[in-house]
């Protein structure tokens, strides 16, 4: 019997497998393929205060073991989301982490105020790292001071109950200092990593392939970047819960992120290739934990950080 349950701040989840924001829409589309109650939680697509069209097409290019996208936060806006999408998820008895994104510190605070009064939410993801905004200066997570101000504003508006998970970008020089900044400002947990800023040039047109020119790279191609980011941040902030994501496609990948320090693992791009991927990953993870004689996910979190002398000498022969 393996205890798969996990916590992010004061929120409890029966499984460490989550959808990744922007990769499950609002859950309805996946419900035909998986039972949403079986996973840790549905992390909804980052929603802004107003409805938004997003970026022009083409919005996608496949790359070796990955893809780049430039959706640009297309969505219904927070009011419609709270009136329609959230109640549906709650009616399905799915646990929900709502992800919000804003263009200003004030917009994040406004979103937090609206979410505060909505029932059925386990945690709030504050996406300060979407790479597909028109002004790169608005990627708050690339600026330690801006990151802190956003989280500070959300914390003050939200009060103390709902856990805040700050979603960070790997496209920074010193990720640990940004992580420390948002934790100091009131984040209860960190989501690592968002997509990696990237570009594909189309050889037919000999111009950038995406309508928005740049996009976010996701999929197995970025998994080692995620593992590194989680490892570094867990090393510096061992008590801060991390929701890890980045190219997880198998149970092996999920375990790798957990060993690096993740308490939960989000499945994103893998769901595009297989809408039931999250369930197979969950089953594979359970088996891998059993084989390694872990009796809970909690025991494996950050296990890659144990001192060298603890390593079983049998592996060194």
């Amino acid at each position: 019997m393996i205890d798969l349950s996990t916590t992010l701040g004061n929120a409890w989840f029966p499984s460490p497998l989550f959808t990744a924001s922007g990769c499950a829409s609002s859950g309805k589309e996946l419900a035909q393929f998986i039972d949403l109650r079986e996973i840790g939680a549905v992390v909804t697509k980052s929603v802004m205060s107003k409805p938004r069209h997003g970026r022009p097409t083409p919005r996608i290019a496949e790359t070796p073991s990955g893809m780049i996208n430039s959706i640009g936060l297309q969505g219904p806006g927070i009011d419609q989301f709270l009136a329609q999408d959230l109640p549906w998820l709650v009616s399905q008895k799915a646990r929900v982490i709502v992800s919000i994104a804003g263009e200003t510190v004030e917009e994040y605070a406004t979103l937090a105020r609206k979410v505060r009064s909505a029932p059925g939410i386990s945690a709030l993801e504050v996406n300060i790292s979407c790479p597909n905004v028109e002004n790169r200066g608005l990627v708050f997570a690339c600026d330690p001071d801006a990151s802190r101000r956003v989280i500070d504003g959300v914390r003050k508006t939200l009060g103390g109950e709902l856990p805040i998970i700050a979603k960070l970008s790997p496209d920074v020089t010193d990720l640990v200092s940004i992580a420390k900044g948002v934790v100091d400002a009131g984040a209860d947990g960190l989501a690592l990593i968002n997509t990696v800023l990237s570009m594909v040039i189309n050889l037919e047109t000999m111009r950038p392939h995406l309508g928005a020119k740049t996009g976010g790279l996701s999929g197995p191609a970025i998994r080692p970047i995620a593992v590194r980011a989680i490892y570094q941040v867990h090393e510096a902030l061992p008590t801060v819960p991390i929701l890890g994501m980045g190219g997880v496609a198998t149970g092996r990948d999920a375990l790798e992120l957990i060993l690096a320090g993740a308490k939960g693992v989000s499945v994103g791009t893998a769901s595009f290739g297989d809408p039931a991927a999250i369930i197979s990953i969950q089953n594979e993870l359970k088996e891998l934990l059993k084989v390694r004689e872990f009796t809970s996910v909690a025991q494996a979190v950050g296990y890659a950080h144990r001192p060298v002398e603890d390593i079983d000498t049998r592996h060194e022969q």
Partner: protein, 282 residues
């Protein structure tokens, strides 16, 4: 439950046959009872490249035809042009190979309750789903004319058995190497002016769909088109395959061609905004 993707399922299908037809491959897959839910216009998302492929996304193909009573039970026919890495892989799969697929996906062509005069217009391999549609329309007592066009004769897909379901089959090529020289859209204005068509069903390149939409504008002819836009997931979660589409009030928003399409009313697509973004949100 949600109505989105309601009849879709994932399965491992077997390749019953894989025949080269001109520049295309006609691939027959054994899908069993899944055919009961497949309608003309629906598509299938296929995992390509095998177990350790670096291609992580499924490839979407229009379902050409389905048959419930084939020698192997329910089967699904695809017409595939081996142009990209994924479609080349699919075309290289021999009889007996196993294919991981999700189907049926997307909207279907609307079938009229009364017999109508239908014109089916296909561009290049866009003709694939039209043959299955022609059979359904014919069984409803419709008059079915099919016009197929391509840049050159080698890109026309028109199998002998497909011709049985249509009253008239005309072929147009830009280089005149097959059928009549010219574009497949050129004869349509006259047909409409002469009152010879009630509904146009189209599938092919976006410029062709746009041209037909502009031709039928202002007439009583209904235009149902199967659109084409780059797609990552095929099930509505990635938001990459969007098109600007107007609702009943004329407000344009970005709709997913996988779940709100591929079949759309051509009159609702804001063709001038494809590849752009509407200025304001209603």
């Amino acid at each position: 439950m949600s109505p989105i993707n309601k009849f879709s399922g994932r399965m491992i299908a077997t390749v019953v046959s894989n025949k080269r037809v001109g520049q295309y491959h006609q691939i027959l897959l054994n899908v069993g009872e899944m055919v009961n839910n497949c309608k003309p216009g629906n598509f299938v998302a296929i995992k390509v490249g095998g177990e350790n492929a670096k291609m992580i996304l499924r490839r979407a193909f229009a379902i050409s035809r389905v048959s419930l009573t084939g020698p192997y039970g329910g089967s699904m026919e695809l017409i595939v042009a081996p142009f990209g890495q994924g479609s080349k892989w699919l075309c290289s799969q021999d009889e007996g190979s196993e294919i991981d697929l999700i189907a049926p996906l997307g909207t279907a062509f609307g079938i009229p309750t009364q017999p109508v005069r239908a014109l089916l217009v296909g561009g290049g391999y866009g003709s694939a789903p039209l043959f299955g549609l022609a059979e359904v329309l014919k069984n409803r007592g419709c008059r079915v004319d099919m016009y197929l066009g391509a840049s050159t004769g080698g890109k026309i897909y028109a199998p002998m058995e497909g011709k049985r379901s249509v009253n008239v089959l005309r072929i147009y090529t830009e280089d005149g190497s097959m059928g009549e020289r010219g574009r497949v859209t050129e004869p349509i204005p006259t047909l409409i002016a002469d009152g010879l068509v009630d509904v146009i069903y189209s599938c092919g390149p976006m410029p062709m769909l746009r041209a037909i939409s502009e031709i039928v504008a202002g007439s009583d002819v209904v235009h149902q088109c199967a659109v084409e836009e780059s797609m990552a997931c095929g099930v509505g979660i990635c938001m990459t395959c969007v098109l600007p589409v107007a609702d009943a009030d004329g407000n344009v928003s970005m709709r997913r061609s996988c779940i709100d399409g591929p079949v759309m009313d051509g009159a609702n697509v804001a063709w001038d905004l494809v590849g752009k973004v509407p200025e304001v949100f209603p």
